[in-house]
Amino acid sequence: MELKSKMETKDLNFYYGNYQCLINFNLVIKEHQITALMGPSGCGKSTFLRVLNRMNDLIPNARVEGKVLLDGQDIYAPGVDAAEIRKRVGMVFQAPNPFPKSIFENVAFGPRMLGVNNKFALSEIVEKSLQGAALWNEVKDILSKSGLALSGGQQQRLCIARAIAVEPEVILMDEPASAIDPTSTLRIEALMQDLKEKYTIAIVTHNLQEAARVSNWTAFVYLGEVVEYGKTADIFQHPKDKRTEDFITGRFG
């Protein structure tokens, strides 16, 4: 069966001022799949992720050329509301960044922005989201405690709960496990397998094993270009490009 393409970039070029960090970037992110972007530090993979939900709009002198399609609609077309795009394309950041608010308020933040004020409806969303992020059992009795009082791994799952509370279609994860301990990493990787049933996931990692473990599709990014893209198993077992092979076998990275 042909998998539907959820997001797609066409001849995407991205510049910070005069510096070009993404070069003719063509990539497909398939629906209900996990797509991993791997590559050495500074190769442009995080920048690419932040292009997908217009997070780079905040950076002065940043410039996008080419097309970024979400369900076939160009998210950089004139008149498209960036906030609306970010509601559909959520993001989990490298370091957990809960608000200095209670656990409940952290998760309720997004729905409140969208105008949900009914206490009962909010409670329901919060419980569902925390369950979705596999955190509910640990925090159900301490919902009024500060989100910052949780452990690093729990904070990251809180951030995932916060992201899914607004029911996005795509979740972008920027090295979500790089700042937390190995046990929490495994929990989050297991969680991603559940999440992909409902959402489409793109994850950036410089950790090869992580890309191999969690993803269905892998893109190897090097110096701002997509060197190779394909099924994760194919990329890792039969890399076509010499650079991919060198990266996978640990010759650089």
Partner: protein
């Protein structure tokens, strides 16, 4: 001279420096409280002063004027200061215009307060015909305190990490929602600290009010009533009457208020820190 003796001499000066530094505020505060507190009584707090060259009476109208003036000042100051801080911290970015604005604010912050008084006298008292009044005094105080509030509020907002803003934006929040729901609540204790700092400075201020508030000892009845604050009353008592003990009593009340305000500021600042680092 050998190294041991050098060290002894250095120790002596360091200890002497520390000791004198502690001694000065303790003796000033101690002296004022000791001379002043015996004259403080409920009667003193609840009786109006006679005014003029007489040192008789208490400080009831003075307390009312002080509170009245501070409330009016805050009503004007807070929205202006926080608004300007939001603009500078969240919207203005960095350009020659904002650098000029920041430079102007910093310059304003170091202008002597009597200059604000003269300005207030010329503009509010004379040109706008507000006369010597609470309104004139409050407006002049706003000019004096704006730089302090803008700077502390701006700093409180820029201390909110970028990751917090990104978290809000990534949930589909608009720029204003991000500022109002993520940045401002987090920065609020810091902003409140700035406001209390301003209250403290307003309570202490004399020079600005000397030329804008008049000095009437009567109970204020409207925004256009003149009046005297605690510090101004203290000044009149000391300079124009022989009621030295009452001047000290007023000073004691003033010092107690300032100590309370400073403790409150410290407490809020530590709350702010705890909130940003995960304590409760």
């Amino acid at each position: 001279m050998n190294a041991r003796n050098t060290q002894k001499i250095a120790w002596f000066f360091i200890w002497a420096g520390g000791f004198i530094t502690i001694l000065i505020p303790i003796s000033i505060i101690g002296y004022v409280l000791m001379r002043g507190l015996p004259s403080v009584s409920l009667d003193f707090l609840l009786t109006p002063p006679e005014g003029g060259l007489s040192g008789e009476g208490g400080i009831s109208t003075v307390i009312v004027t002080t509170i009245y003036l501070i409330v009016v000042t805050l009503i004007i100051l807070t929205p202006l200061g926080i608004g300007a801080a939001i603009y500078l911290a969240e919207y203005a970015g960095d350009s020659w215009i904002t650098r000029t604005i920041r430079y102007a604010i910093d310059t304003l912050a170091s202008v002597p307060s009597i200059i604000f008084g003269l300005f207030g006298f010329a503009l509010f008292v004379t040109a706008l015909h507000f006369r010597f009044s609470i309104l004139s005094g409050a407006l002049a105080l706003v000019c004096l305190l704006l730089p302090t509030l803008i700077r502390t509020a701006e700093q409180a907002m820029t201390t909110v990490p970028r990751s917090q803003r990104e978290a809000a934006l990534a949930l589909g929040a608009t720029k204003w929602q991000t500022v109002s729901h993520a940045v401002l609540p987090t920065a609020m204790p810091g902003i409140v600290t700035g406001i209390i700092l301003c209250i403290g400075r307003a309570v202490e201020e004399t020079a600005v009010l000397y030329v804008t508030l008049g000095g009437s000892a009567a109970m204020p009845t409207s925004l256009f009533s003149g009046g005297r604050t605690l510090s101004l009353h203290l000044f009149y008592l000391a300079m124009e009457t022989n009621a030295f003990e009452k001047s000290m009593a007023t000073g004691a009340i003033l010092i107690i208020i300032v100590i309370i305000i400073n403790s409150l500021t410290d407490w809020l600042a530590s709350r702010f820190h705890a909130k940003m680092t995960g304590g409760t």
